[in-house]
Symmetry: C3
């Protein structure tokens, strides 16, 4: 800002020019100036450098690879007793960052294309005569195309006959979740983060030589924070729900893995935090498997699956000393020192009792000589 | 920058030093200086603070959870009439951020391992004699390993016999998409974004007490922008394609959800924008289901599925007042005030007619006394 | 910083005030000052502008769409010869950013719910008498619920009888990967990146008019870097593994696509770099398909699949000239010029032999007149 006017010769280049100041014995403005300088210094050192780590470059968009595995088995006593293991209840089987645990389902076996009465639970399908069922129209939110007939659904209801996959799905859900024991199943989450900007990678699993560690440990935020095996019930409860409610109609739990790494410190201190939140209080989807029977007719087994969807998301930031953000932070602070001076000058020149005097001292009038030839010489 | 030299005693600490200026009555340079200052002020207030919101910290990497559901049913009149519902045409059934709607397919039922003539559509397989089919070589871009024989494929073509899944897939696609009615199906997209830096979450679905709202509404960018139910044809047309073309050979549509949130304003004004773009004009994949027949031989039903793949991506940025970026923006602006002064000084000292005079006024020579003992005293 | 005190009248507004300097012929401090200025200039031009491109706004969080396709076929000579094609070995079939290539498997056909001896490989199941198998307890890391009996597993071992899917999986893996020829299969990766901040999109596939290009080319980092078709063995070897080892017990390979685009240059120079890394030395999962037999009993075919999981992640940054970061970078640099002056002043006023003299020259004492009325006049 100052001292930028070079001399007239090479020798002049090395003259040092220092800004001239008028020294005022004004204690009030002097005190104000020092206080402002202290304030700027405090902001610079305390807030920008210590708290916000303004000397660090940060990477807030890590890339994350997630591998998940649901484990556990439970016997379900339904119409017939059945054991469920991971191959039965985990979708998709590969274990990616969204994984679904079946806790309840409605099975509709051996559906085939044909005509049958629509479910009485579908409002649009309830009818009293054939005219209520115009042929060719699809049933709104139903399972097929109306054939034009009104038929008996059960002893109390008549519904439109439809063309579609028959028989239609029975929409009454069991009162209790079929797979209530799933609360003790575990979810293993292996997560590797990579901070591109610093080429730094870290995994959430402990580097251990004990091969059975991950098979026996269970995550606890206090006692074993580095064991990435989570019990399903613990996760649901951490999200503020009870397992039984969620298991009945399904739901979606967000699992958030948060990395906050200061790479100016040892890498071992960079550990993830886990948090769980409820995303949805209902979750289901339908899936079907197909086969041909001995008469070469296509059949399908329809499953409406209810369960808990775990949505694993990885967040993170890493910071590391870098010259550019440090320079920006410090340079900005320096500019504020200048602002402090400007403010004090305003007080001195406009608010002080002797403002007029200071004005003249500060701004010395420079009257150019009238005679140009003399100046040019 | 200025006034940084502390006094010799505690009292001196509170002396206020104000930079001395030479007051020149040079109107031209004065005008230039004021204009430059106005320019810097305008840049600072107008561009940095108003337009670019330089006082805000921004988060450009929100985490997004996406749940999708395809809905609709249609009867297809093929060799036999068949109704398609969501369990039939949606892959994967869970509804993640990539969802695929089957609109056309080639089914090859009851394949088994064995030998059969390769398809005549595979260039490498056309032959006239056995020598054209060296045994053990795989057919380039074909379906199996050559057995060494050249056999009749149909009345006009001979092809190499292969070992592989037989019979081979018939590569002629129907002229019209089988599931042409899929244009009226709907895609429900539930999207929650989370801006980590500000711990702010928002969902794209309207907070409503009407349980049937999402079952009856349809997205319209003007009339119902907060209904996240999109008709397939509308999406394809918004991407600049016609549904019929895309349904025949498949394609990929990018659905972009864009959040631009100013968190200094009410959260209700933070609403997503949807846009649609064509990513690919062709998309298909093969999938198979396996079974053992009564002779315990493995069979599979091969499906080559064509259809529309929806790739939902969530973009977003959120800004909120924060002291550090505000300080950086303002501090930078202050530095430019200094730059304006330097520029005016250069004009005054080098370009002005009375430059020589101003030079002497600005830089008062300080000649140190020759006698060192006196200065030290 | 300077010249901010407006005059008393409109005319005064256009007076130009230039900071006064004391010109010292101190060569040492003058040299120091010039060197510091050169240093700041060098830092500003060389590091901030040239190397770090501080004049550019950067977008480090591109959105990426990835479509993948595994291709190839191989005949496996097992108990019976079988040809594997993409529909057999690729999971999920859609080809998203995580794709799995089956290289080995353990098939357990025709499991049904019932009782059978647990596998002798499960430690918890080995028993000598019925008391070792408390009824109702699940076998730890096993396949079912103990029935309370200890039964013969084979001629040398006895294990607890369990209720579950029977027979249990045979946990001995073949010594060689079944699909050893998968090393010659190829993975096609189509990747589109979108830099939201600059609304710039690019695809990794060459814009070519030759329809067979992607069917015949093979990626080579030197000879054909724009062919996105990768041979499986090449990828495994680039990750530092041998295909045979990984194929036996599975593994996970991270495929990283890195875009570093300077949008101030032609878009054609924005090309991705591919790199491969080993994420895991073991990877497997179980999946099952279900069917009802002629007695309407549910059966499943269980597959434990080993293979190579490709985790494709897209990283990138794009930079483009923007006025705000340019102003921040330059403004910061200007602030450092001020810092250089402060440093030189300190040397001059405290370390120089004639410091006392310079002090008095720099800080001219301004003694306000004692008589207030005069000053106010």
């Amino acid at each position: 800002m100052a001292g930028a006017g070079p001399g007239l010769a090479l020798g002049g280049l090395l003259d040092y020019k220092t800004a001239k100041f008028a020294l005022t014995r004004n204690r009030r403005v002097g005190l104000l100036h020092r206080l402002l300088q202290l304030g700027v210094l405090g902001y610079l050192l305390g807030w920008v450098l210590l708290v916000r780590k303004g000397y660090q470059d940060t990477d807030r968009a890590p890339r994350a690879a997630v591998v998940t595995k649901l484990k556990g088995a439970a016997a379900v006593a339904g119409t017939s007793r059945r054991l469920w293991d991971a191959a039965d209840y985990a979708r998709p089987p590969q274990g990616e960052d969204v994984i679904f645990l079946v806790t309840n389902f409605i099975a509709t076996a051996q559906q085939a294309q044909g005509t049958c009465p629509e479910s009485a639970a579908v409002l649009d399908a309830v009818c009293t005569e054939d005219a209520d069922c115009p042929m060719g129209n699809p049933v709104a939110r139903g399972n097929g195309i109306k054939t034009g007939k009104c038929v008996m659904f059960n002893t109390t209801h008549s519904t439109c006959e439809i063309y579609g996959w028959c028989p239609v799905e029975n929409s009454t859900l069991p009162r209790k979740p079929l797979l209530a024991e799933a609360e003790n199943f575990t979810l293993f989450i292996k997560n590797t983060v990579h901070f591109t900007k610093f080429n730094f990678s870290k995994c959430n699993t402990l580097q251990t030589n004990d091969p059975t560690y991950f098979k026996t440990c269970l995550y606890d935020s206090f006692f074993s924070p580095s064991c990435p095996v989570f019990r399903v019930r613990d996760m649901v409860e951490a999200a503020g729900e009870t397992f039984g409610d969620l298991a009945l109609l399904g739901g979606s739990i967000g699992v958030r893995i948060e990395w906050d790494c200061d790479l100016d410190q040892p890498a071992a201190r960079c550990q993830p935090q886990y948090s769980f939140s409820l995303q949805d209080r209902s979750y289901n989807f339908r899936t079907a498997s197909y086969y041909w029977d001995s008469q070469r007719q296509l059949h399908r087994n329809l499953l409406k699956l209810y369960g808990i969807r775990f949505d694993i998301s990885v967040h993170g930031q890493a910071g590391k000393f870098s010259i550019v953000p440090a320079a920006v932070s410090i340079g900005t602070g320096i500019a504020f020192f200048g602002a402090a001076t400007v403010l004090c000058d305003l007080v001195l020149l406009y608010l002080d009792a002797k403002a007029e005097f200071y004005w003249k001292e500060k701004f010395e009038e420079a009257k150019p000589p009238k005679c140009k030839t003399e100046a040019a010489a």
